[in-house]
């Protein structure tokens, strides 16, 4: 459904991605793991077209999307919840969520989407009219995920969604990821929480220094010696 072939990305003189290839199957949870700075976020940014490619191609549902503008990618249903939340701090929680359903297609289903987000995160309903910038870290993460869901994604890319969340919320997030998959939404998950993310993933990719170095089912990777040593802190 989503396929990256030999994607390369440069930041100025520095190459961050060296020809990454990966495939995300429809309806699957795909985990992308790797050390800090490996290039995971860069990969997601490349897919969302907020940084230019230096080489390679990205296809979604068989069509190239690496030639589109970022908003067109979202319109196709490829939605990202960025690393570090990136909320609109001077807008309320509700307004943040509304921006999530900015595109016409998502706008039509706005009311039900909002219901669903509030059901996932009841706390957000309580805080609907608080400015997002004054929320606690965890609350902000909830808004970020909720905002992504408002866009009616076919593929939801989550960049470190559990970062800074209390264990109880982390569990919730992982539960939500599973539920999303069960509802037919494809999830591309980038996580430091390697064990947990591989545990729920149908498929996993390991990224190191800008290259995909390993792939397999989540279970395979969990049992891989290299992965154990480098990422699971065994």
């Amino acid at each position: 459904m989503l396929e990256l072939r030999d994607v390369a990305v440069d930041y100025g003189d520095v190459r961050a991605l060296w020809g990454a290839s990966l495939t995300v199957e429809k309806g699957a949870i795909v985990a992308l793991v790797g050390a800090n700075g490996a290039g995971k976020s860069t990969t997601l940014k490349a897919i969302s077209r907020i940084i230019p490619l230096s080489g390679g191609s990205i296809h979604f549902e068989g069509e190239p999307i690496h030639t589109l503008a970022s908003h067109q990618v979202v319109a196709r249903g490829v939605v990202q919840v960025p690393e570090g939340r990136r909320l609109f701090p001077k807008m309320t929680v509700l307004e943040n969520l509304m921006v999530g359903s900015h595109l016409p297609a998502a706008r039509q289903k706005r009311a039900e989407a909002l219901e669903r987000v509030y059901a996932f995160f009841p706390k957000l309903k309580e805080r609907a009219h608080q400015l997002a910038g004054t929320l606690s870290g965890g609350e902000q993460q909830m808004v970020a995920i909720g905002r992504g869901l408002m866009a009616q994604p076919k593929v939801l890319m989550l960049d470190e969604p559990s970062l800074g969340l209390a264990p109880i919320v982390v569990k919730e997030v992982f539960a939500i990821v599973r539920r999303l998959r069960d509802e037919g939404i494809t999830v591309l998950l980038v996580e430091q929480n390697t064990a947990q993310s591989l545990a729920i993933a149908d498929r996993g990719y390991v990224m190191e220094n800008g290259r995909i170095t390993l792939s397999g089912t989540g279970q395979q990777l969990l049992e891989n010696e290299h992965v154990k040593k480098a990422y699971l802190g065994a």
């Binding site: 100025g12 003189d13 520095v14 050390a35 800090n36 700075g37 220094n209």
Partner: protein, 327 residues
């Protein structure tokens, strides 16, 4: 030892600058050089506060005007020796800057910029209206610091001011104060958290900056031999100070010098070359400079050098040294 060595080049440069009138006798060019030095001093003053400490003021005409008016008023109303007037201007710059600081340092970002602009504008309007002291728009004829036809003494005076200002910046950059100024520029909260008295250091930067501006203002008044509020207290003065520093490279020792040289020469050249269109060309140049050299001339060069070094380091595979160290 190495301290002494470090000083050789700057001292030679300073001597060379001071020797210029011995070589260039043409009064027109000497006049242009004086203007360059005036703007070097002002840009450097601005740079200490704006470039290093990151407080982007558009109200420095207040200090410039204070220096100019103190000299003018004490000399014409009380018959003071102009040198005494300059000294008083320096003294007064301290309380004025602390007062302005006590108001504006509570503002952040664009509000600080606008706040400084507004205060300077209020001062200009008051100077226009307070005719019993300032003569209002009629202005004041200011006695010359140096008699005679030669511009050389003027040159030496302002060259000395500029050298002190640039030298001070050089010293600041190499010392704790400089690090502290920069830390405040980069992030005030973090700076507080590691023990930096941000208000104190911002005031320090402002006072230094104000004093240099005031001396230059006093000099300028005497050099023009005539001042009125729109000359020394107006927004264009404040703007030009910032332009000089930013085009040259803010937060660099010689940036304002480079900026002043380029801009004064450009303005002289354009005025001769483009006649009515010269301000249009100047505006275009200013826009181009900001768009294509956002860090200023020196800033961009320095950044290029740094980037190259970073690229080299990255190429050698220093992705994340830390991981290999611990555990």
């Amino acid at each position: 030892m190495s301290k002494v060595k470090e000083l050789i080049l700057p001292v030679l440069l300073a001597v060379a600058v001071l020797a210029v009138p011995l070589v260039i006798k043409n009064p027109y060019w000497l006049n242009v050089l004086i203007l360059i030095l005036v703007w070097t001093s002002l840009g450097t003053a601005w740079n200490i506060l704006g470039g290093y400490a990151g407080q982007l003021s558009l109200g420095h005409s207040a200090f410039f005007g204070l220096g100019a008016y103190t000299l003018a008023i004490t000399a014409t109303r009380f018959g003071w020796n102009p040198w005494l007037g300059i000294a008083l201007g320096i003294l007064l710059a301290v309380p004025l800057s602390l007062f302005i600081g006590s108001i504006t340092f509570r503002l952040h970002g664009p509000y600080f910029v606008l706040g400084t602009l507004a205060i300077a504008e209020v001062l200009r309007l008051v100077a226009l209206a307070w005719r019993s002291v300032t003569n209002g728009a009629v202005g004041i004829m200011v006695p010359r610091l140096f008699m005679g036809i030669s511009r050389a003494p003027f040159y030496w005076f302002i060259a000395a001011v500029a050298i002190v200002a640039v030298g001070l910046t050089w010293w600041i950059e190499r010392n704790k104060v400089g690090y502290y100024f920069t830390a405040i520029r980069e992030d005030q909260e973090t700076a507080e958290s590691i023990g930096i008295n941000t208000t104190g250091y911002k005031n320090l930067a402002l006072v230094i900056s104000a004093v240099i501006s005031a001396v230059t203002g006093a000099f300028y008044a005497s050099f023009l031999s005539y001042i009125e509020p729109d000359i020394v207290l107006s927004e264009p003065v404040s703007l030009q100070m910032a332009i000089v520093a930013i085009i040259g490279g803010r937060g660099t020792v010689l940036g304002p010098t480079v900026g002043a040289t380029l801009l004064v020469l450009a303005s002289e050249l354009f005025r001769a070359q483009f006649k009515q269109a010269h301000l249009l060309i100047y505006g275009l140049l200013l826009m181009a400079a900001i768009l294509f050299l956002p860090g200023g001339v020196l800033g961009t060069i320095q950044q290029r050098l740094k980037d190259r070094r970073a690229a080299r380091l990255a190429a050698t595979g220093a992705t994340f040294v830390a991981r290999k160290e611990a555990s």
